[in-house]
Symmetry: C2
Subunit: 189 residues, 2 copies
């Protein structure tokens, strides 16, 4: 992420702290100390603790929304689209793992932006589901339970943020390819 402005530095540091302890357990004094300033000074740059969370989560959620729209506009088989989705998740998670943590575990603290977030998530999941349904109808994907397929892929992709930071030896493209192979072709011989 880009720490150009002081506000951005604060948001990035906040995301890192939120990842370790969760939104509710991080105090404004914790955040200030981590930045080497006093809590009150934070308010020269940000409106509230809540606004920090909104910034972190919604910017990522909108990135996913935009990525999904691009994938839907492209021509391509369902399997091809699923591969693009995998790539989208790997890309975003590797660029902003800390933010992904907040999105995954602290979205329920979004207060007045909660409905907006949930609508983005809902749309995303529906698009994802429809790609799978299409694939089954076209004979590209096995006729297994759609919900289980969706849940299984989404669970793995949503957890990438936990895992990418500690396996830096694997590059993004390798990881995407490896994940595609496993999620789509399975693991048995």
């Amino acid at each position: 992420m880009k720490p150009e402005t002081r506000k951005n530095e604060i948001i990035i540091k906040a995301a890192a702290l939120f990842k370790d302890k969760g939104y509710s357990a991080v105090t404004m004094r914790d955040l200030a100390t981590a930045l080497g300033i006093k809590a009150a000074s934070l308010y020269n740059h940000i409106d509230s603790k809540q606004a920090i969370l909104q910034d972190i989560i919604l910017s990522i959620a909108e990135e996913f929304t935009a990525g999904m729209e691009t994938i839907l506009q492209d021509e391509g088989s369902s399997i091809n689209r699923l591969n693009q989705i995998i790539q989208l998740h790997v890309t975003i998670a590797s660029r902003n793992a800390d933010g992904m943590a907040a999105l995954n575990t602290d979205w329920m603290h979004l207060e007045n932006k909660l409905d907006y977030y949930l609508s983005l998530r809902d749309t995303y999941e529906n698009n994802f589901r429809n790609i799978i349904i299409d694939g089954i109808e076209q004979g590209e994907i096995k006729d297994e339970n759609v919900e289980v397929i969706l849940f299984s892929m989404l669970s793995t992709l949503r957890s990438l943020y936990l895992w990418i930071p500690k396996k830096e030896d694997l590059n993004i493209d390798q990881l995407s390819d490896s994940l595609s192979a496993i999620l789509i072709s399975g693991i048995n011989t």
Copy 2:
């Protein structure tokens, strides 16, 4: 779970609240109100908020540890063992989805029991990994990246608690079978 004693009622209700808002965001007054009593009354039954979290998380973690030991003692192919692991996760998650939420998202607040929890988790993951490695050596499992296989399966299994409560039409055995098929054989035709 068994709400026989008042203490158990408290722990079960706490797990439900922790699932919705996370450990740090749930106050003892929230918990008391949900039980129809005052916060101070909780302390006739439990030692501290922290002790509630420990009870919830460690009892499940020990259940997983015991389950894994049983699986390792049985004879069986690697694929067979993976299927047993899937069944173990489905069983525990469906019996105690709320507790699984705490285990997944609030383990970092365990304080003096944190090291113990991490050692259990570490051992579990190592056993899981070794089963996969065995399977590859025996030619039962494709020679893909072991860490990606492990991560992919664990992510899905660890997220079951999010998903089981809202799909009650699918029974436990059907879900196990469906998950096995998808995680092991993949989804492409």
